[in-house]
């Protein structure tokens, strides 16, 4: 190869290599310092998000208080089971149905507790998205959380429905006509039924909270989709 051709190849390589290397280094350096730009939400939207976050915080506090109430009810049910199953329990022939009923109530309590925990988790994730929207977390990250919430929702729904069904079965399982029960079995029946009705009302409100959250997640998704996309990362000078 004549020496002039070698020189030309070298010049050609340099002419492409220098801008190419420079561009690569510039882009690599940029990619290390990328700070996700904040979505430009209006003042009204920010204020609404703040209010929503406040409401969600309130929901979390009350749901956590409910959880501790459930734990106490479970302890009470466990106490009743121990008492009824004792040999010297004064309930006579009514002891066996009361015991099986108390055991059903205890099982429902455990299910209710896990449903409640799932809903609390759901609310916390919603709060995370709301906070992220407000603080300008990257849209793709928020969408990941929203997708997780959407995937999580049918499982929560199923758990709530199972608990609801089980609570209804327990209501049928009570069977015994309380009027026929003699004291102290009647008082015991009253204690257990109050525990059971608490569970019934809690599971129905839990179902409502969950369905509200599903619509809320849907609204959040629309809001995240509507927020301006990030298109500032690559901008050439001219």
């Amino acid at each position: 190869m004549p020496p002039i051709a070698g020189k030309r190849i070298l010049v050609g390589l340099l002419a492409v290599g220098i801008p190419y290397g420079g561009s690569f280094f510039y882009l690599w350096n940029q990619s290390r310092n990328v700070v996700p730009p904040k979505p430009r939400l209006s003042e009204d939207a920010l204020r609404t998000l703040e209010t929503v976050e406040f409401v969600l915080n309130d929901h979390i506090t009350s749901a956590e208080a409910n959880l501790s109430g459930m734990e106490k009810d479970e302890a009470r049910t466990q106490e009743r089971i121990t008492w009824i199953s004792q040999r010297e329990s004064p309930y006579g022939p009514s002891g066996a149905p009361l015991l099986s009923w108390a055991e059903l109530i205890y099982r429902d309590g455990r299910r209710l507790e896990s449903s409640q925990k799932m809903v609390v988790q759901e609310i916390k994730l919603c709060r995370l998205v709301t906070k992220g929207l407000r603080e300008g977390i990257d849209r793709s990250e928020l969408l990941k959380t929203i997708r997780a919430l959407e995937e999580w929702a049918p499982r929560v729904q199923q758990t709530i429905e199972d608990t609801e069904l089980s609570t209804k079965k327990t209501a049928i399982g009570i069977g015994t006509n309380p009027v026929l029960l003699a004291e102290p079995a009647y008082t015991e029946w009253n204690i257990l039924s109050s525990l059971h009705y608490d569970q019934e009302s809690r599971i129905s409100s839990l179902g409502k909270i969950h369905s509200d959250l599903v619509s809320f997640v849907d609204a959040l998704k629309k809001l995240v989709d509507r927020s301006p996309p990030v298109y500032e990362t690559l901008r050439f000078p001219f």
Binding site: V16, P19, Y20, G21, S23, F24, Y26, L27, W28, S31, V34, D225, R226, P228, P229, V230, Y231, T233, L234, R235, F236, P237, F238
Partner: protein, 198 residues
């Protein structure tokens, strides 16, 4: 020049149709294509005016009319050509790295979605930037040649005038875009049917 204007606008309109609305969401609707094309053509005219002023300051001898004739004669070929090439390259690169870019004539590129900075993606985009660099250089060289021939200035002075004009254009660009929008609002009834027919 009018033919170049129509051709370039047509390229941009086709390009805007190539970007799926589902990916860019509301931003595609937010882009007023007519306004965008109008503003960039105003910027080109302003750039030529700056070039003329720069050359005259450095003892250039051509009239404003001569500068406009020489520059716009070159740009009539360069602007549609570079726009088409940039659109082609950006579509190629954007599809390789799964993102969407918008080319704004003559040499503007806006990324809609930040690309994932993997080594492969950086290598591809660096290739695009290199091609962009040479296109911009060619654009500049053509401008310098045209000015050199019209104003009878040395290459050094012509380059200085071109560099000063680019600097001035970058400085006033935000104001020009704002003013362009306002002007567009005034002339919208005239511009929209013209561009809408494309």
């Amino acid at each position: 020049m009018a033919f170049a204007f129509i051709l370039t606008s047509a390229f941009v309109l086709i390009e805007l149709r190539l970007i799926p609305e589902t990916v860019t969401g509301s931003s595609t609707r937010a882009i007023k294509k007519d306004e965008l094309i109008f503003t960039y053509w105003i910027l080109i005219l302003l750039f030529v005016a700056f070039l003329h002023a720069g050359c005259r300051l450095l003892s250039g001898r051509a009239t404003l009319r001569a500068t406009f004739t020489a520059s716009l004669r070159i740009y009539a070929f360069l602007v549609p050509g570079t726009t088409l090439l940039m659109i082609f390259l950006s579509q190629l690169v954007a599809s390789a790295i799964s993102t969407y870019w918008l080319v704004i004539p003559p040499l503007g590129v806006v990324g809609f979605k930040p690309f994932v900075p993997t080594t492969g993606n950086l290598l591809i985009v660096a290739g695009f930037v290199t091609a962009y660099f040479y296109l911009a250089l060619f654009f500049l060289m053509c401008t310098v040649w045209a000015l050199h021939a019209t104003h009878k200035l040395s290459y050094l002075r012509t380059c200085l005038a071109a560099a000063a004009s680019i600097g001035a254009l970058l400085l006033v660009k935000p104001f020009v875009i704002g003013a362009g929008r306002r002007l567009y609002e005034v002339f919208e009834p005239l511009i929209t049917p013209f561009l809408g027919g494309l």
